[in-house]
């Protein structure tokens, strides 16, 4: 994980070039002038621990070896220079300068990676330290302050104050019963609403409201809600720039039910309940890059394909019964059957709440979501809604 991150970091961002240039720049002017003049025995790295990692985390400092002497294909190892528990709001870790400088004795500056990790997740940043007192930070050089501590050129300690750590990448968590299949693995990296690559950092299986079923309280009347293969639900996407403290709706995403058999809820007289289905929701992290701000976004990325009565009851027919519905109503005669087809969809504003974001969703009754009524009672039963029955987002059913 660390190796991959660093390799990607170095390769993609061109930081290796940047680091080399930086080191060259630093090495040419003031540092070189002081070279040999200052003696630093300890390098102390100070940083602020993100709230998500405030308890039970560990700080690890990894040395970044010089890449100038490594050929393509060679394994790169990142030695652990120091590691110790970190708790509370900040940490301070000291490393013998000789250990740091041992990475590349010919260089006046060294690159290190400071990683914070816990059971929740991890974050890391790269810093460049110098025994001559010149420090730069790769994540946010403006936020770094560095100085020598000690009596002038013979200081015994260099203090490196790190910039704020990037967003915490949460460890992938799996809800009971959920499994990671190949489809999910393939979706581990998805595009954010802003077109930036997001990495799956947390996931959860959760039910969402996809519809509602109203059955008249008449013996012999039944109805079914069929959530078939190909049925699509449209969800809001949540986007956060403050590590999930506040979310905004940023576009939508469609999730299709790919379960080959589909699912159906069949109910009898008096049934009045929301219909839910399970979806896999993911929280994705976008790392800072040239075109992308660090952010978190959350969206469902797979449909489980089931359907079942949800825990809550929807509002009953606002008109009391279908005969009073100004939008009109339809008779289903005794022995008759009636199936909806291409209705507009009902928008549920709080279909699910995950990772702190309240998702809205819309499941269209188009092509693969159908509601069917069967009338085996002794009299006509009626269907109606907020539009003509065939186009209503919600169908009501009453004996009058």
């Amino acid at each position: 994980m660390k190796l991959k991150f660093i390799k990607r970091f170095l390769n993609r961002s061109g930081l290796s070039v940047l680091i080399s240039l930086l080191a060259l720049t630093i090495g040419i002017s003031p540092v070189q002038a002081n070279a040999g003049a200052s003696v630093t025995s300890t390098i102390e790295i100070d940083g602020t621990i993100p709230a998500a990692l405030a308890s039970g985390s560990e700080v690890i400092v990894l040395g970044v070896p010089s890449i100038t002497n490594i050929s393509q294909g060679d394994p790169i190892t990142f030695p652990i220079l120091s590691a110790e528990p970190a708790a509370g709001g900040s940490f301070s870790i000291a490393i013998p300068a000789s250990t740091v400088n041992g990475l590349n004795p010919q260089s006046l500056t060294q690159n290190v990676i400071v990683e914070l990790s816990s059971g929740i997740g991890s974050t890391e940043q790269m810093a460049t330290v110098s025994s001559q007192g010149t420090v730069s930070n790769m994540n946010n050089s403006n936020a770094v302050s560095s100085h020598l501590v000690g009596p002038g050129a013979h200081s015994t300690s260099e203090v490196v104050k790190l910039a704020r750590f990037p967003m915490v990448r949460r460890n992938i968590t799996t809800s009971p019963g959920a499994t990671i299949d190949s489809a999910e693995t393939a979706r581990n990296v998805v595009q954010s609403p802003n077109g930036c690559d997001g990495t799956l950092i947390a996931k959860s299986e959760h039910s969402s409201r996809i519809g509602e079923l109203h059955v008249a309280n008449t013996s012999g009347v039944t109805a079914s809600y069929d959530y078939k293969n190909g049925a699509t639900s449209q969800f809001d996407v949540g986007l956060s720039y403050d590590n999930g403290s506040t979310w905004n709706v940023a576009g939508g995403v469609q999730v299709s039910n790919t379960d080959s058999t589909g699912a159906s809820v069949s109910e009898g007289p008096g049934f009045l309940q929301y219909i839910d289905s399970d979806f896999m929701y993911g929280e994705f992290s976008v790392q800072q890059s040239l075109f992308c701000l660090p952010s978190t976004f959350t969206e469902p990325y797979a449909a489980i394909g089931d359907a079942f009565p949800g825990p809550n009851q929807p509002s009953p027919n606002p008109y009391g019964n279908c005969l009073a519905d100004p939008n009109g109503f339809a008779h289903i005669p005794v022995d008759g059957s009636y199936t909806t087809g291409n209705q507009s969809a009902e928008k549920y504003s709080s279909a699910a709440t995950l990772f702190g974001f309240s998702f809205g969703d819309v499941t269209g009754y188009s092509t693969s979501v159908e509601i069917t009524y069967h009338n085996q009672s002794a009299a006509d039963t009626y269907v109606c809604g907020s539009n003509i029955p065939a186009l209503s987002p919600i169908l009501y059913n009453s004996p009058a």
């Binding site: 339809a330 009636y338 199936t339 087809g341 003509i388």
Partner: protein
């Protein structure tokens, strides 16, 4: 006359007849194409709707509704004729009645039987007016749209007849158009006395499900 000036005097574009000529052409186009057809120069797209199902006896008239529901407003159109649209492997029943619901105050039938179609509750008949040459107004803001009732017959017991809806011929501002109304029907013909037996019911329900899948895909 300079070269520059000559180039600005096109033999036709520069003619004094050019602009009046264009106006005449536009007027001819307007008179011939736009005015007779109103806003409609293509067939109306009717909303895809539902599937009604009803079990019947051989040669019993079974009725279904086709709603003239549109998402946009239109002027009145005149209904001329209609025929059934096949639905997959299901045999088509025979279309033997066409009518228009006279008013929709008492709702419309998703299915019914007899002609005029019978209302089960309260007992009676749906008010029907003739189909041919009836003018209907489309695109009402609220309430039910015009409803065509079509009566079909299947003669073979044990056969599930079905249709995807009606192919409608209508006149709109003097021009003839054809449009499909996907408001399907399943006419399940069985020999039964009062209620379908379990096997017949299962067959009926299965046919409804299959018909739905065909209509709405």
């Amino acid at each position: 006359m300079s070269t520059h000036e000559r180039s600005r005097t096109h033999p036709i574009l520069g003619s004094q007849l050019f602009i009046p000529g264009i106006v005449v052409i536009l007027l001819v186009f307007l008179v011939i194409w736009v005015l007779p057809a109103g806003r409609t120069t293509v067939p109306i797209k009717f909303n895809e709707l539902t599937v009604g199902g009803f079990p019947s006896h051989p040669d019993m008239v079974t009725d279904f509704s086709a709603l003239l529901s549109t998402s946009t407003s239109h002027d009145a159109i005149t209904l001329l004729s209609a025929k059934l649209i096949p639905l997959g492997i299901f045999p088509l029943p025979r279309l033997i009645h066409l009518g228009v619901l006279r008013n929709t105050r008492n709702g419309y039938p998703t299915s019914a039987y007899g002609w005029p179609p019978r209302i089960g509750t309260p007992s009676g008949y749906y008010p029907i007016k003739p189909f041919n040459q009836t003018s209907v107004l489309l695109g009402k803001a609220r309430g039910l749209p015009p409803v065509i009732i079509y009566g079909v017959v299947g003669s073979q017991a044990g056969t599930i007849y079905a249709t995807k809806g009606l192919s409608l011929k209508y006149r709109d501002r003097g021009r003839i158009y054809y449009a499909n109304i996907y408001d399907g029907a399943v006419d399940a013909v069985f020999n039964f006395t009062k209620n379908l037996n379990q096997l017949q019911m299962a067959k009926f329900n299965n046919a409804i499900s299959r018909a739905n899948a065909l209509v709405f895909h």
